[in-house]
């Protein structure tokens, strides 16, 4: 399909382990976003990539969180030394700046559970 894909769909890990979450945006979309959504809560902005510009990391909750976007396409969100409070659904979205707006298209999310 041509939508945003994320992997894995589910990840269970032990406290203290590192995890990597992957996002494949829609081809040609210049902007990519990561959000975190805890159970029953809203979206917490984490990080935003726009083209080749420096990413906006203002939403990352701690230095255990980092993200990369290689070649302007695929992005990886890394959480080091996971904690139980990191358990949430991590959503990725991409968008294309156009005259029709910057509507974000969301992936299905990765459900992270830290035991």
């Amino acid at each position: 399909g041509a939508g945003v894909s994320q992997s894995p769909s589910n990840k269970v890990t032990e406290k203290g382990k590192d995890v990597e979450l992957r996002c494949d945006p829609i081809s040609g979309h210049t902007a990519l976003y990561w959000y975190r959504q805890s159970l029953g809560q809203g979206l917490e902005f984490l990080i935003y990539f726009q083209g080749n510009s420096a990413p906006d990391k203002s939403g990352l909750p701690s230095d255990r969180f980092s993200a990369e976007r290689t070649g302007g396409s695929v992005s990886t969100l890394t959480i080091q030394r996971t904690q139980q409070e990191d358990s949430a659904v991590y959503l990725c979205a991409s968008s294309l700046d156009s005259a029709g707006g910057r509507e974000q298209f969301f992936g299905p999310g990765t459900r992270l559970t830290v035991l």
């Binding site: 976003y33 809203g42 979206l43 726009q50 707006g101 910057r102 509507e103 992936g107």
Partner: protein, 110 residues
């Protein structure tokens, strides 16, 4: 600090009734988006509002934008059970960056 506030956060309504969800924001923006999220699912785009006075309608939902008041509304007409979901507004703050409201969890009861 940028604020995007939705009101109400929880809404329980009967089928056939009308109601409005409000989205207030604290920064200058002329673009606003509404999304729907079903339980356990990701977000789905509903409306894209690109200018002051913009109004979009799809079925029983109508969204509007007043950039001077920094307010968007999502109006529900004659609600049906299928509309039960969480609705998010998102404000475009420039440079392709966006901030979301906390969401309004709507439950439509028979």
């Amino acid at each position: 600090e940028l604020k995007v506030e939705q009101n109400p956060l929880f809404l329980s309504m009967q089928e056939g009734k009308n109601y409005t969800i409000y989205c207030n924001y604290s920064t200058t923006s002329d673009r606003l988006y509404w999304y729907r999220q079903d339980p356990g699912k990701s977000l789905e785009s509903l409306f894209v509002l690109l200018s002051n006075g913009a109004v979009k309608q799809e079925g029983r939902l109508m969204a509007s934008l007043d950039t001077k008041a920094r307010l968007s509304t999502l109006h529900i007409t004659a609600a049906v059970h299928d509309l039960s979901a969480t609705y998010f507004c998102a404000v475009d703050i420039g440079n392709n960056d966006m901030r979301f409201g906390a969401g309004t969890r709507l439950t439509v009861k028979p």
